[in-house]
């Protein structure tokens, strides 16, 4: 579905759309406060951006180093070229061991690969253990935000969900009670799990270690109890050295939620003595993105969600209006990069305000990328024909000052004399909720031509007329 259509539906519930906007603006404001106390904030962003760009420029070397180091610590490293391969590797690891109960901590990569459905179809019980993700999983929805998966829901909605799926008493809406209920439910699932799957926030080439950041500690519990730990990792998650973590850990949580650091930053250096650790390195279109001169910097992304929180369109249209794994500005780059036909409306779900670019902790020029995408989509004729023709007609008119003046005069004349029910009628989308500007009798250039005691200064291509 087109973003504009889905967004309109969301906005129609004006009160709820405002509530959504205010919730996310609150997070953005927390981010501002958390960054104000770091005098070197802008320098930190620049450093992070440079580390990422360096790593991506030498990605092959760092991937080899990472694999070597991880394997030397007893990790089994797998490579998946796409989502299908990734899912098959996970399914096989579980099937080989006869395991059917998997707990997962937050991983946008597995959302991207649609792992849950793949495993469920094969008889595996998959339980998301991040509270927000568990809520949307129970509702058979997708996360509407990469960091706050259930941000589109009010606590009453959560109460209703728990009532429907977890036998909670009806009308439960106190955060304490809801959390307690979720805790017991998840504890049960965690204790019964045979395997734990996590995402990866950072892979360190120098050590072969991985770092996972959570606020709920669910990744720790989900990997401490079962014997098998599978970590799904996009190949762009690498950083060269452990010392670089100091840059990214300071940026990540501040940008995401305005916390100085996530509650848990868990380091995994090889498997537990009695367990197994499998890391799946996933490409799934990332090398294509890397080959693109215009969009490769999107791979800098550390999935903090700051661009979603600040995006005035995202805040008012909700994550599901994007119909993509990742919503918001970064999703509007990643979505069409994966599948331009399906996601062609996303680069246009943007006013080019540039706020996303300015909050991005790794300095992805997001709004410039969205603009660049528009011209690619126009070239592929994925911009609607009326829009393209309209622009070509406009260009033809604007190029000829006499034609521009004539068209302008006709438009102003019509606007002044035609009845309102025509000028403001339904085909004029602008005027549904807005007045048209007043039409002055004279344009500026008309005024200039009539200006008395004046040398007219009307010149053509630099030559005085």
């Amino acid at each position: 579905m087109n973003h504009a259509t889905a967004a309109k539906k969301f906005v129609t519930n004006y009160e709820r759309a405002h509530w959504h906007d205010a919730s996310l603006w609150f997070v953005r404001s927390k981010r501002d406060k958390a960054t104000e106390v770091i005098p070197e904030w802008e320098q930190l962003r620049e450093t992070a951006s440079q580390i990422k760009r360096h790593t991506l420029a030498h990605l092959t070397d760092y991937l080899e180093q990472f694999t070597r180091e991880a394997e030397s610590r007893g990790v089994v490293v797998h490579w998946a070229v796409d989502a299908k391969e990734h899912n098959e590797i996970v399914a096989e690891l579980l099937a080989e061991r006869g395991m059917t109960r998997l707990v997962k901590s937050k991983s946008m990569l597995t959302e991207e690969c649609h792992l849950n459905d793949f495993l469920t179809e094969r008889g595996v019980e998959v339980i998301d253990t991040d509270l927000g993700e568990r809520i949307v999983q129970l509702r058979r929805e997708t996360p509407s935000h990469i960091v706050l998966p259930a941000i589109h829901l009010k606590r009453q909605d959560v109460g209703q969900t728990f009532h429907e799926y977890l036998d909670a008493p009806p009308g439960l809406d106190s955060p304490d009670e809801l959390t307690e209920l979720a805790r017991h439910h998840l504890r049960e699932k965690l204790l019964a799990a045979e395997a734990g799957l996590t995402g990866v926030n950072f892979g360190i080439a120098e050590t072969g270690g991985i770092v996972i950041c959570t606020n709920e500690g669910n990744a720790d519990l989900g990997t401490a109890l079962p014997k098998l730990h599978i970590a799904s990792m996009g190949i762009e998650k690498l950083i060269p050295k452990t010392e670089h973590l100091s840059v990214f850990l300071r940026l990540l949580a501040r940008s995401a939620t305005g916390q100085p650091i996530t509650s848990y930053s868990s380091h995994f250096q090889g498997p537990r003595p009695d367990g197994e650790l499998h890391i799946i390195l996933v490409d799934n279109g990332r090398t294509n993105l890397m080959a693109s001169t215009e969009f490769h910097r999107a791979l800098n992304c550390i999935r903090c969600g700051a661009c979603l929180n600040t995006c005035p369109v995202y805040r008012r249209s909700g994550g599901h209006s994007y119909h993509a794994t990742v919503a918001g500005p970064i999703g509007s780059v990643l979505g069409p990069a994966q599948d331009p036909k399906q996601h062609h409306s996303l680069p246009f779900a943007c006013t080019l305000c540039g706020s996303c670019t300015d909050v991005c902790p790794v300095k992805i020029p997001l709004h410039h990328q969205l603009l660049a995408f528009r011209s690619q989509l126009a070239e592929q004729k994925l911009v609607s024909a009326p829009k393209r023709w309209g622009m070509s007609v406009a260009s033809t008119i604007m190029r000829r000052p006499w034609l521009f003046a004539l068209t302008g005069r006709m438009a102003r004349f019509s606007l002044r004399w035609l009845p309102r029910f025509i000028t403001h009628s339904w085909p004029n989308t602008w005027a549904q909720k807005r007045e048209l500007p007043d039409a002055p009798k004279q344009s500026f250039r008309g005024w200039l031509a009539d200006r008395p005691n004046d040398d007219n200064r009307n010149v053509d291509n630099g030559k005085q007329k």
């Binding site: 973003h3 504009a4 967004a7 309109k8 906005v11 759309a17 906007d21 603006w25 501002d32 960054t35 104000e36 904030w41 802008e42 600040t310 005035p312 369109v313 008012r316 246009f348 943007c350 006013t351 080019l352 305000c353 540039g354 706020s355 300015d358 909050v359 528009r374 011209s375 989509l377 126009a378 829009k387 393209r388 070509s392 406009a394 260009s395 604007m398 190029r399 000052p401 521009f404 302008g408 438009a411 989308t429 602008w430 005027a431 549904q432 909720k433 807005r434 007045e435 039409a439 002055p440 344009s443 500026f444 250039r445 005024w447 040398d455 200064r457 010149v459 053509d460 291509n461 630099g462």
Partner: protein, 255 residues
């Protein structure tokens, strides 16, 4: 000093007084700008829709028309940003784009002068246009941890009687966004209404901006909703114009 004045298409046709005020400001500084009949448009509507080939001839016209100017002045942050940041891709590297300045920038950075208008005894809400703020750096965006003086605010601040109100979201986008205003009408309207509410709640009587395109959208909404909030371009305020409150009679009926 050879100065060109670029008057964007919609200002030429719908807001001639903004261009006249700009011209008055320049003339008061002893500048008689060159005003070529072409280009009529910088090409931004086409470029922002992805139709690069439709934008290119306009960009070429612009560069040719102003080739021998020392400076080009434009009373629009958005058009200036288009020229400065995107003409490189459209017509190759050229000196014209580096010499093109938004009006406030031109006064602060080039002329280092302040227009001296008469009093403006109103409560003013400054609407920071995104392209002026984030693309041209006319001030410090709230996202960045840096402090650059705000050129639009500082030019206006010298006017006797002017009283700036404090907004809760000082630089959130108004939702105009060119074709976005129509293609994503629902979100665009909601964003615009939210901006109006912020200004009205802060007590603003006049909303002033360096970008008339944002104001075309916001004024359209304000008039439909019969808000007592006038909109003015910064050039008009600097040239000593006074606001026009169009809904006074409606207010009377409301009482």
């Amino acid at each position: 000093m050879r100065v060109g004045l670029f008057v964007p298409c919609y200002i030429d046709q719908f807001y001639p007084d903004v261009a006249i005020a700009t011209l008055e400001l320049l003339e008061a500084q002893g500048i008689s700008p060159i005003i070529p009949s072409a280009p009529t448009c910088c090409g931004q509507p086409m470029a922002n829709t992805g139709c690069v080939s439709a934008a290119k001839p306009l960009a070429e016209q612009f560069v040719a028309a102003f080739a021998d100017c020392d400076y080009v002045v434009c009373p629009s942050g958005s058009c200036t940003a288009m020229i400065r940041h995107h003409y490189g891709n459209l017509v190759g590297d050229n000196a014209v784009r580096e010499r093109t300045f938004e009006l406030c920038e031109f006064f602060v950075d080039v002329l280092k002068a302040t227009p001296m208008p008469a009093a403006f005894n109103y409560k003013v809400g400054l609407h920071q246009s995104c392209h002026g703020l984030r693309e041209l750096g006319l001030g410090s965006p709230s996202e960045l941890r840096r402090t650059t003086p705000n050129k639009v605010h500082n030019l206006l601040a010298d006017i006797p009687g002017i009283d700036f109100v404090e907004l809760s979201r000082p630089d959130e986008c108004c939702g105009f966004g060119g074709t976005f205003a129509v293609a994503e009408e629902a979100v665009s309207v909601m964003m615009g209404c939210d901006r109006l509410d912020d200004h009205i709640a802060a007590g603003a009587e006049v909303m002033v901006s360096a970008d008339m395109s944002c104001l075309m959208h916001l004024d359209g909404l304000a008039r439909r909703q019969q808000c007592r909030l006038a909109t003015m371009h910064v050039a008009q305020v600097l040239a000593g114009r006074q606001p026009r409150f169009r809904t006074t009679q409606l207010e009377v009926t409301a009482k």
